[in-house]
């Protein structure tokens, strides 16, 4: 196959490219330039868009003996990932830019450009596995039809597993994606592979920050891009407790940085419960009000037609509240959060008169909304805008963007 290896300049993507070469593919390395400020140079290595990283990627490509290109996707990145980041915060939500980068840049702009240029697949250094199964069904004429089903699964390396941020890519793109590090159980193993091949990035530290917030100061970045907008911090009764410089800088569940002059009457810590973009107010209150057991999501992506079919989903279902049946699963709402048990169903059309209408094409068509009932543990501080991923075991079933999270069950001990 002709494989494009996305090379960030880090150790993971370098080893992924090496493994693609060793698997016998015809590999070309591509580094994506994502920063608008092309002269940006950061000390150390923290993210995916510094000149130093581009140089490291080039060096790795040279060691592997593969052609290397830099693709300038900075405009698209700014228009999608950064713009979404800003508008989501501005709307009082909490976005995950890495999810949007996978959605719009790595598995759309990059993958589609690669496909147009004649590549069969894109290889990345993500920790996740694509499992291929042959499924035989009875075709419309009664004859058996065998087709290949691709499932996205968690990496056996639980600490590094990135299936959470990959789920947004949807089913169709799995067929054009390769994750050579999928089977690795530890990062040390990957570093050893890098060292064995003479890849000088073997000791490079991991990156954690948001790549386009170069100093790690997200609040400062938001303030610089959105401007200061002074507003009130209130409690649940509406009493004003303090001021802030922009509601967009707050996240549901946040405790630090509220700078409230006086303590709560009961002396307990206060958390951000709600961010109201229109009134520019931040509502704070006690931790127990953050607990949720119902989550609704929109912009859903499904990666498991079979699970939805078993749940009674008709692909052409229509109507204001057409829905699949409930199915058992677990859901995860943070990149490094633990999954909790839940019942999930796909829903078409707007809920409570809100949300986007169902789309007629693409993987997002099958229920653009998702409803989740937590059946075991509850979750705390689930903010609108977060990515919610549905699993069955290690398999990714779907992904959705949290639109609303609330509490339906009474507190433990209360009578039903």
């Amino acid at each position: 196959m002709r494989v494009l290896a996305a090379m960030s300049g880090g150790v993971d993507s370098a080893v992924a490219a090496a493994l693609a070469v060793e698997a016998g593919h015809e590999v070309v390395g591509v580094h994506m330039a994502l920063s608008r400020n092309r002269e940006q140079f950061r000390a150390g290595s923290r993210g995916c868009c510094s000149i130093e990283d581009a140089g490291d990627a080039r060096r790795a490509a040279d060691v592997l003996g593969i052609p290397y290109y830099v693709w300038d996707l900075s405009e698209r990145f700014e228009d999608t990932v950064v713009a979404d980041f800003l508008s989501e915060y501005e709307a009082g939500r909490t976005p995950n830019p890495c999810v949007r980068c996978n959605e719009h840049i790595k598995f759309e702009a990059l993958l589609d450009k690669a496909t147009a240029l004649g590549f069969d697949a894109v290889a990345t250094g993500h920790y996740a596995q694509v499992v291929t199964r042959q499924v035989t069904q009875t075709g419309p004429d009664g004859a058996p039809v065998t087709r290949t089903v691709r499932e996205l699964h968690r990496s056996p390396n639980e600490a590094k597993d990135q299936s959470y941020v990959l789920a947004v890519m949807g089913q169709e793109r799995l067929a054009r994606s390769i994750f050579p590090l999928g089977g690795f159980t530890s990062k040390d193993e990957v570093r050893a592979e890098a060292e064995r091949r003479g890849l000088s990035v073997s000791n490079k530290p991991d990156s954690y920050d948001i790549c386009f917030v170069s100093d790690g100061d997200t609040q400062g970045f938001l303030k610089a891009r959105l401007g200061a907008r002074t507003g009130e911090i209130v409690d649940t009764s509406g009493e004003v407790l303090g001021e802030h410089e922009g509601a967009y800088a707050f996240t549901v569940g946040q405790r630090k940085g509220l700078s409230l002059g006086r303590p709560a009457a009961d002396g307990r810590p206060r958390y951000v419960l709600e961010v109201e973009p229109v009134s520019n107010r931040v509502v704070v209150g006690p931790a127990e009000l953050l607990t949720v057991d119902r989550i609704e999501g929109d912009r859903s992506v499904w990666l498991a037609d079979d699970v939805l079919a078993d749940a009674g989903w008709a692909p052409d279902a229509t109507g204001p509240r057409a829905a699949s049946g409930w199915f058992e699963a677990s859901v995860q709402v943070r990149a490094h959060g633990a999954p909790v048990p839940a019942r999930v169903r796909a829903v078409v059309g707007p809920a409570d008169g809100e949300g986007e209408p169902a789309d007629a094409t693409g993987s997002r068509a099958q229920g653009s909304r998702m409803e989740v009932e937590l059946t075991g543990e509850t979750l705390r501080g689930v903010a609108a805008g977060q990515s919610l991923v549905v699993y069955q075991g290690t398999r990714v079933i779907g992904q959705s963007t949290v639109q609303r999270a609330y509490r339906a069950r009474r507190a433990p001990g209360a009578a039903r």
Binding site: V28, A33, R38, A54, Y69, V70, D72, L110, A116, L117
Partner: protein, 403 residues
């Protein structure tokens, strides 16, 4: 490296003398350096004492821009303006802008027409207005991207009444078109080894004696005190061999390259009718362009996609000059010629050399249609725009600093 240059290079590597030493080995090395200086001077219509050996084109350009600016400022402090064409190589532009940022120089980017040729009227107007404030003028002999040959002699004539020294970066020109330093009237001229079949990392600034040239590198006082540093005898000898050879072979080689290039231009136009030739059209202005150069923009394509696709088909091309991070940027040369950023993204430069053959041109012609179709599809895919829509394009003015 050419075989003769390589032979000279290797032969000299076994010698040990430092040309600045007075012992026998040193004297022997000194003789090699001086004979090389004479050979370079003879090939370029210069006097040996005018040849200053450097570590290549970038150093020569830096020495010309910084050295002349500082040299003039000592005696005439009001001369703070540096006039350079907007299509200069970064080795000229960047030192000029550095001088503006750090030493109080003022940069004037002289505009070019849509073929990349310097606007002489703009130069005249600039000098008429502020000629007594100009420290130096630098205009390249021939452009490295679009191959346009600049009216260097006219620039010299226009500048002479104002007493302004003129430098020309002739890195692309020597060995391609006739270059005669004395006849040109230039005060300084840059050339480099690796463009002529010589080694990398060696070149020269040919500079008139008496030119006020402040050193950039200070030290042992070599090269008439203007360029300190132990002379690289093997590189200098190989450089001289290459210059001599390239100039001697120039006429025949240029004829061969021009014929091949004309085939290439016809072939590209036939294969991709909407490709746009940039720079002078060789079929109407044969002498206005470097013989081995052709340059096209391909609408809707990104140059690096074409580069990849053609490379896979065995045709090596270039998009222009790559920047520090290797991020393809719209060429400042094309922007100065009035090409939109959108169109400039689809630029591809074809350079033909001594080893190029008609088979190469044929291979390009065969590979191009599919490559262009794929590159156009890829351009749409990565832009996220639906087919048939164009990004709003911008044309930059020449006053802006090239990226």
């Amino acid at each position: 490296m050419s075989p003769a240059a390589l032979e000279a290079f290797v032969a000299e590597l076994t010698a040990t003398g430092n040309p600045s030493s007075l012992h026998a080995a040193g004297r022997s090395a000194r003789r090699v350096v001086e004979e090389s200086r004479e050979a370079v001077a003879a090939a370029l219509g210069a006097r040996p004492s005018e040849v200053i050996f450097t570590a290549g084109g970038t150093e020569s350009d830096n020495l010309a821009i910084k050295g002349l600016f500082w040299g003039r400022r000592t005696t005439e402090p009001r001369r703070r303006r540096i006039l350079v064409s907007a299509v200069e190589h970064h080795a000229v532009l960047d030192p000029a802008f550095w001088m503006a940022e750090h030493t109080g120089a003022e940069i004037v980017l002289l505009p070019v027409d849509e073929e990349g040729r310097l606007d002489l009227d703009a130069l005249r107007a600039e000098l008429a207005a502020k000629g007594d404030e100009v420290a130096l003028i630098s205009v390249m002999w021939a452009n490295n991207e679009v191959g346009t040959i600049q009216p260097v002699q006219e620039v010299v004539q226009i500048a002479r009444p104002y007493g302004i020294p003129v430098h020309s970066d002739a890195v692309q020109a020597v060995g391609q078109v006739p270059v005669d330093f004395a006849a040109s009237g230039l005060d300084a001229l840059t050339l480099t080894g690796h463009k002529l079949g010589g080694p990398m990392g060696v070149g020269a600034l040919v500079a008139k004696r008496g030119l006020p040239l402040t050193p950039v590198l200070h030290g042992g006082g070599q090269e008439r005190g203007v360029r300190s540093g132990t002379l690289d005898t093997p590189a200098i000898r190989a450089f001289a061999v290459a210059v001599t050879e390239a100039v001697a072979a120039r006429a025949a080689r240029a004829e061969h390259l021009a014929a091949l290039r004309d085939d290439l231009v016809r072939g590209v136009r036939a294969a991709v009718p909407d490709a746009v030739l940039r720079g002078p059209d060789p079929s109407t202005e044969a002498s206005a362009r470097l013989p081995g150069n052709a340059h096209f923009t391909f609408p809707g394509c990104e140059g690096d996609s074409l580069l990849y696709l053609l490379d896979s088909a065995g045709v090596q091309t270039s998009t222009g000059s790559a920047c520090q991070a290797g991020v393809p940027q719209p060429s400042h040369v094309l922007l100065a010629m009035g090409v939109s950023e959108e169109d400039a993204r689809g630029a591809l430069r074809f350079s033909l050399g001594a080893t190029s053959t008609s088979t190469d041109v044929e291979r390009l012609r065969a590979a191009l249609p599919q490559a262009v179709a794929r590159a156009q599809a890829a351009g749409l895919a990565s832009s996220g725009r639906p087919a048939g829509t164009a990004r709003e394009s911008t044309t930059t003015t020449t006053g802006r600093r090239p990226a």
